[in-house]
């Protein structure tokens, strides 16, 4: 069983998947809607305007920094 686990884990090595720009934007939009109840486009607009600056890395709002980290998918 352990060897089987090792083989399955090994198959996962190096299989990073690269998203197209459209796929990345769709992922970002889904996460923004799911976590912040707003579109990805709205999150980016409000982020760029500095609306979240005071609470961006606040432990009471952990989704904000997560979404900020996903911005490369969303732009």
């Amino acid at each position: 069983v352990a060897k089987g686990i090792d083989r399955k884990a090994a198959r996962a090595d190096g299989q990073v998947q690269y998203l197209s720009r459209e796929e990345g934007r769709a992922l970002f939009d889904r996460q923004a809607r799911e976590l912040m109840n707003m579109s990805g486009e709205e999150f980016l607009r409000r982020y760029d305007a500095g609306e979240f600056d005071d609470i961006l890395d606040d432990s009471d709002h952990p989704h904000l920094m997560h979404l900020a980290m996903l911005i490369p998918f969303g732009r």
């Binding site: 090792d6 996962a12 190096g14 299989q15 990073v16 961006l56 606040d58 900020a68 980290m69 998918f73």
Partner: protein
């Protein structure tokens, strides 16, 4: 980014997804599929949130023509209700004022440190996963995880440009 996929494969079969592989002034993103945390094998029902940004720049070193550098990271261990158990952050660019590597601790410590950004050195994903396995009861997916993880971490330590 392949070493990062290899590192997370010590504790999960979930695959990382990336936003690009072209040289760019703007960083690329790397996260688990769907942008969601990955559930770990653990009685405590922990999951791992892995958000990572990297840049690809031309390099003239002995390691090859291109250099992949970490731009920012968030490595978080979450409980079954997606609350942070511990969160290692480094986001030196962007809009956060906390630009140094730091850790977020959960509520319930003698002082309320939940809103603090307790400084750390730069943390490798391997160090976070070793902590999760040794101290939090996460089950590794490989019998030889100690040796393989040490090898993976040595590669990171040799190639990192700071910290």
């Amino acid at each position: 980014v392949k070493p990062l996929q290899q590192a997370v494969s010590f504790v999960t079969r979930d695959v990382l997804i990336a936003s690009g592989r072209e040289p760019s002034a703007e960083p690329h993103g790397l996260t688990f599929r769907g942008g969601r945390p990955s559930r770990l094998r653990c009685d405590r029902k922990l999951s791992l949130r892995f958000d990572h940004q990297y840049t690809i720049t031309e390099a003239l070193g002995e390691l090859g023509r291109w250099k992949v550098s970490t731009a920012e990271y968030i490595y978080e261990l979450l409980d079954e209700d997606a609350r942070r158990v511990i969160a290692y952050h480094w986001h030196p660019v962007g809009r956060s004022a906390a630009t140094w590597p730091h850790v977020h601790l959960p509520k319930g410590t003698p002082f309320d440190l939940a809103q603090a950004h307790a400084p750390t050195g730069r943390i490798s994903i391997e160090a976070v996963l070793r902590f999760a396995i040794q101290d939090l009861g996460v089950e590794p997916l490989r019998r030889n995880w100690r040796e393989a993880m040490a090898k993976s971490e040595q590669l990171f330590l040799r190639q990192r440009s700071w910290g």
